[in-house]
């Protein structure tokens, strides 16, 4: 589903964010991406969504080399991805439900059908009672869950989450991990970055660890946390 092959990414100014990174993620897999801040986790996720392009190597998503996609093809790649941003990227000039509505508007969904989907997505993350609120009135954890609702409303086959439990206390973090697991169960491919190794403890999922831009381990199985 996602395949990195000897990917190098150097930012203008010479900073090498990723060095010779190769790995594969199969369809329906749930993978954690760990490493300290600055290890290249965000860069790796941005390469998948073609927000950044690799300097060398190839990034394949659904057998498509996204590193060389024409900019007019990008929207159609991104519609297939649900992205949960570290800084949420919510729009504070509209209600909670309008924020979730945005991806459906962009894809040109039927109006009535999209209302149903918005409510279903909000229900999934437990925000249905806040649909008329402005996102600014939500707590950090609620904003994070709103961001998840927006990422899943379009039912993408791949979910990318950048530090989704970043600033949340353990209880909220567990809630959000539970939401991700439920997506995994219905067949979505997930790649979740985190610097907080405690959330990995009771999971038996695969971990990709980055250290200063280099891949450390790409192993599967419990106990590897």
């Amino acid at each position: 589903m996602i395949s990195f092959n000897q990917v190098n990414k150097r930012y203008p100014g010479g900073y090498q964010a990723l060095k010779n990174v190769s790995f594969d993620i199969a369809e329906g897999e749930m993978v954690f991406l760990t490493g300290h801040s600055g290890a290249g986790k965000s860069t790796l996720l941005k390469l998948i969504a073609a927000i950044e392009r690799p300097n060398s190597g190839s990034v394949l998503v659904n057998q498509q080399n996204v590193g060389v996609l024409k900019s007019r093809a990008l929207p159609f790649l991104r519609r297939n991805l649900g992205i949960i941003f570290q800084d949420h990227k919510l729009l504070f000039d509209r209600s909670v439900s309008d924020n979730v509505m945005l991806p459906l508007q962009i894809c040109g969904f039927d109006f009535r059908e999209s209302h149903k989907r918005v409510r279903a997505a909000l229900d999934k993350v437990g925000l249905l009672n806040r649909e008329k609120s402005n996102p600014i009135a939500l707590s950090g954890g609620e904003q994070q869950r709103l961001c998840i609702a927006r990422a899943i409303v379009n039912r993408p086959s791949i979910l990318l989450a950048d530090e989704p439990t970043g600033n949340l206390d353990a209880e909220y973090a567990q809630e959000i991990m539970a939401i991700f697991k439920s997506f995994h169960q219905v067949g979505a491919t997930l790649l979740i970055s985190t610097h907080d190794e405690s959330v990995l403890q009771d999971t038996g999922v695969r971990v990709i660890a980055l250290k200063q831009g280099e891949l450390q381990t790409a192993s599967t199985g419990p106990g590897k946390a």
Binding site: A49, I51, R72, L74, P75, F76, L77, R78, R79, L81, I83, F85, K89, L91, D93, R94, D98, L102, P103, L104, Q105, I106, C107, G108, F109, F111, S114, R150, N154
Partner: protein, 298 residues
């Protein structure tokens, strides 16, 4: 479709969140458009007046007072054979005096004259579209034997028409310049809108919005602003004409004549509105093309 509607309603709400700024923009566009369009209306009216007054051009040929009957016959034959002349009309001096008596009511004064002061005259109607210009023909006729004076009537109408052509050129230049101004106004308004909605555009791009999707509401906004500006211009012109006609009414009563300024015709009104809408759209399009590519998510 309803999404597009919702999207645009949302955008319009935000764009007209500052009604003062929006209204001022529309007012500026309206004034800019009303200048050339108003001048056009005045010119149209002037042209109607000229067409009414000038009729067909003619040359009056006055013979010298000592011309005899065979001089007149010879001149008549010459004129008949001239290729640039369609027809001629002879006005004998006695008849001219009679007409003068009837039309001016100066019977007493004319009756006091010992002799008829009027010469024999030909009225020459040139062929329309002849190679020779009217003035050249007049000079040629003036040189003929026993011709005292050749006068080109309605020459003033031609001068006026040349003047109107000049006026039309001014309108054209003015319209071009102010159209550019309108495009510039829209360009700038949209640029500011794009900047204030930077976050929204960035997020929309991140979740898969095509450029067309992002561009659309801005184009609609530009076209709407242009259209409202056009309506404003139409109102300015119509109200001005109403005020002017009120004054003209008093004036024309004093001169015992009927003259009113006609407003913009339906076709011209529609053209004005379509044109202003198109210019607004164009300004928005240029602005979006220029500024949207600069916003890339990071």
């Amino acid at each position: 479709m309803r999404h597009a509607l919702a999207q645009n309603v949302g955008l319009f709400k935000r764009m007209f969140a500052s009604p003062l700024a929006g209204t001022l923009n529309i007012l500026v566009i309206g004034i800019a458009l009303s200048l050339p369009a108003g001048m056009y209306v005045l010119l149209q009216n002037a042209q109607g007046l000229v067409a009414q007054l000038s009729g067909t051009p003619q040359i009056s040929l006055f013979m010298s007072l000592d011309a005899k009957a065979d001089d007149i016959d010879r001149l008549r034959r010459q004129l008949d054979q001239h290729p640039a002349i369609a027809r001629i009309e002879f006005v004998a001096r006695a008849k001219a005096l009679e007409q003068l008596k009837q039309s001016t009511g100066l019977t007493d004064v004319i009756g006091g004259l010992n002799q008829n002061p009027l010469p024999d005259a030909f009225i020459v109607y040139p062929k329309p579209g002849a190679a020779q210009s009217l003035d050249e023909l007049r000079i040629e006729l003036a040189k003929m034997a026993k011709v005292e004076l050749a006068q080109l009537d309605s020459a003033w109408a031609y001068k006026l028409e040349a003047l109107l052509k000049f006026g039309r050129m001014i309108v054209l230049i003015l319209a071009s310049l102010l159209s550019l101004a309108l495009i510039a106004i829209t360009f700038n308004t949209i640029r500011l809108q794009i900047l204030t909605q930077r976050d929204e555009i960035e997020v929309a791009k991140l979740i898969g919005a095509t450029n067309a999707f992002i561009r659309r509401p801005f184009l609609y906004f530009g076209a709407t602003q242009g259209l409202l500006g056009g309506i404003m211009a139409w109102l300015i012109i119509s109200i001005s004409l109403l005020l002017l006609n009120h004054q003209l009414n008093t004036l024309s009563q004093l001169y015992a004549s009927q003259f009113v300024l006609h407003p913009l015709s339906l076709g011209d009104s529609l053209t004005l509105l379509m044109f202003s809408m198109y210019l607004g759209w164009l300004g928005a399009w240029l602005s979006v093309a220029r500024h949207l590519s600069q916003i890339e998510p990071r």
